[in-house]
Symmetry: C2
Subunit: 199 residues, 2 copies
Amino acid sequence: MNVHWDEHQEPLGTALTLIHSRQSTTSRFLGDPGPDRAQVETILDAAGAAPDHRRLTPWRLVIVPMQKRHLLAEAFADALSERDPEATEAQRKEASEKAYRGPLLVAVIARLSPELGSVPTPERLLSAGCALQNMLLAAHAMGFGGGLLTGKSIYSARLKQFFQLGDTEQLLCFMAVGAVLRGKPTTTRPAMNDYTTTL
Amino acid sequence: MNVHWDEHQEPLGTALTLIHSRQSTTSRFLGDPGPDRAQVETILDAAGAAPDHRRLTPWRLVIVPMQKRHLLAEAFADALSERDPEATEAQRKEASEKAYRGPLLVAVIARLSPELGSVPTPERLLSAGCALQNMLLAAHAMGFGGGLLTGKSIYSARLKQFFQLGDTEQLLCFMAVGAVLRGKPTTTRPAMNDYTTTL
């Protein structure tokens, strides 16, 4: 999906178009060309502008480059076997395919150590969400699609080991970014009144 | 702080300016004029464009209008007494003052019921963070300041009761929006290399 920019729009209109025209792309439908090195930096830099109470940077990012995807693929397969020792080779193969999604694939990791500062976990995850949205919006503004990958493997010991996470770190999701190979119908969004009440 | 828009900027530049020029304003320094009714709707509508796995809308918003702030003020004071039965009247008064912050004050509540669908809590909080960032960016694009209010009272039984939260709901923060009465020096942000590694 593309941003339908009106070049003569005023900045507020541009901001609202950016926010409302973004929608997640299933990572299966993301392909080449992905962002180049400078574009990756621009996208990931946007994360740093998220609200961050007491400036803990309570999350970090790990880029999984193409040449390391086969290792992540093995980890995904093992994560499946970890929670289902009966998993077949076909199921392991299917689980491993997620590793190849998106020309840009970034693991988002929460840093939950109390030693970082006295900010409770939910607030840290909110900051991670804000960082994620900034990155998705920046990617969208460049014309890329973006999608989040999650699933039970996120919580596996195998992936924790793969990313060498500390005891107080937690893998939250993967962000995949690339060219949109196949669009989908516009998502219906909830409107303000669906989720807002007034006291 | 204002957005330093360059009217001739292309859309990507506008998006990056929006993201990087936003910074939180201490809610003490937010005042009138706040957003009018239509602007409130525009800001809160932006939340609905957040990524939302399986479309649970795993969060909801409650506007606390000015005429109800004194009730929230009592709740803040009681929340303090709840965790510190020795709190003095002066301390209770100080705690209660947060209720008057921002012409627009919105409680952000996570909906964590397993019955909503099989999406784990961290993912739901990420969605709430994305929604929050969309709202802060929309408010910023209009020239308003925004800040998040949290603190121990967020987790009190008294506030849970005040907002009539369900057993599986959790108050995450308050978002305050209004005119910036007093700016502050530009925040130093972490840069991509401070929080990013490559596998």
